[in-house]
């Protein structure tokens, strides 16, 4: 039994840019790997969000029913949940579709173009249906810490992650919490 931190990262309605920025930790990733085990992440081939996670970084806004389910599972199975990046924190670009109804949105994006359109608001068993409104993560589950930024810079991420590894509260300086 190791006493390494069990770290999970998840990707909801976002562009994966926050995860790219996470990889920009560069050599600090080695330090992180020594202190934490990555137990769930889009950059690792793990299908199920496991039990007993210490810290979960969640990128992206909550845009469809799969996001809701995963968010709830993450909350149940993690000690600390972090809203990771502007989409999770504010809804950011993902929330811009809220000014349209789901049906109008699907018409504009798919039905008016070539190919078959997803059903969107009905469960077809393949593609998760879209929520009527995109929500920031903290409006779906309770969140313990916020790391804003689009994407949050590697330095920002490191400041938050190292605090969590030390078992401290995430309390970022003014210049590390600007949106955008």
């Amino acid at each position: 039994m190791t006493n390494k931190i069990r770290l999970g990262t998840a990707w909801l309605g976002g562009c994966s840019g926050c995860h790219m920025s996470f990889l920009d930790l560069d050599e600090r990733l080695l330090e992180l790997a020594a202190a934490a085990d990555l137990v769930y992440s889009p950059i690792a081939d793990l299908k199920e969000f496991p039990e007993g996670v210490d810290v979960a970084l969640v990128e992206g806004a909550v845009a469809n029913i799969d996001h809701v389910e995963l968010a709830k599972k993450i909350r149940e199975r993690s000690k600390i949940v972090v809203s990771f990046g502007d989409c999770a924190v504010t809804g950011n670009v993902t929330i811009l579709r809220n000014r349209f109804g789901v049906d109008d949105l699907l018409t504009m994006v798919y039905r008016e173009g070539p190919g078959k359109a997803p059903l969107g608001h009905e469960a077809d068993g393949i593609i998760p249906y879209l929520l009527p409104k995109v929500l920031p993560l903290h409006q779906v589950i309770s969140v313990d810490a916020y790391v804003p930024g689009c994407p949050p810079s590697a330095d920002r991420i490191w400041a938050a992650v190292t605090a969590l590894l030390r078992g401290e509260k995430v309390s970022l300086e003014e210049e590390l919490i600007t949106f955008g």
């Binding site: 809203s83 504010t90 950011n92 600007t178 955008g180």
Partner: protein, 239 residues
């Protein structure tokens, strides 16, 4: 002009009797957040960020439109004030579409930097995400209602300094909109002189130079000081 004495954050200070509380506070080097206030323009007490507490009343006072008074005893920082200031910023952020990541003013925006300064790292209110237009009909400038916080610096600078009064406010409450002339495309407004003062004083990305993309817009207010010094004191110094 008489001198009065008042107490700011438990410090006894003196001020000119015609000064505003905000001027007296800033003269002491005490920082206090503002958004609608801009040196050189009239004050309207709109954003409520400069609210202070005064001993003897439970009512908060907007420092920018409150004159100093003999014996006044004010506090510029308290838990209650910080909480209200954060609420104001969060309400502003939730009311329209301030998507910093894709805004021309990203990195230079007064709303964005004030939010960080006040420790706003998320918004507790529901985002309204209104469907608001942009007006790119002007030859050189763009108006984006999505970023507007209705501080009306543009309305004031156009009326008070340029003397053109192109801008006005239409509607009530959450539906208020800054409009050109009698609500027509900015480009067709005959009162606009195209001077660009409104663009320079706008604290957010609501007014910008045409052709600027994300984070490219930087604004300068220095011209206001030069113009006001010239007009009021006949000092024409351009630095």
């Amino acid at each position: 002009m008489s001198v009065i004495t008042l107490t700011i954050n438990e410090q006894l200070v003196s001020a000119q009797s015609e000064q505003t509380l905000l001027e007296a506070i800033r003269e002491q080097g005490v920082e206090i957040p503002t958004l609608c206030h801009l040196e050189g323009l009239s004050d309207k007490g709109g954003c409520r960020l400069c609210m202070v507490e005064a001993v003897g009343t439970n009512r908060l006072m907007p420092a920018c439109v409150t004159k100093v008074q003999e014996g006044m005893n004010v506090r510029t920082e308290s838990e209650r004030l910080v909480e209200y200031r954060k609420m104001i910023i969060e309400l502003l952020l939730s009311e329209r579409n301030h998507i910093c990541a894709v805004c021309v003013m990203n990195g230079h925006c007064e709303l964005q930097s004030l939010a960080a300064n006040l420790g706003v790292n998320h918004v507790r209110y529901e985002y309204v995400v209104p469907d608001l237009p942009m007006d790119a009909s002007h030859e050189r400038f763009v108006q984006d209602q999505n970023r507007c916080i209705l501080c009306v610096r543009c309305v004031r600078v156009c009326h008070e300094v340029e003397g053109a009064h192109n801008w006005d406010v239409m509607g009530r409450g959450v539906n208020s909109m800054v409009i050109a002339d009698l609500y027509q495309p900015w480009g067709s407004s005959r009162s606009c002189t195209g001077c660009g003062k409104c663009v320079q004083v706008c604290p957010t990305g609501a007014l910008s130079k045409k052709g600027s993309t994300v984070a490219e817009m930087v604004k300068h207010h220095d011209f206001l000081g030069w113009i006001m010094n010239g007009r009021e004191k006949n000092i024409w110094e351009y630095r």
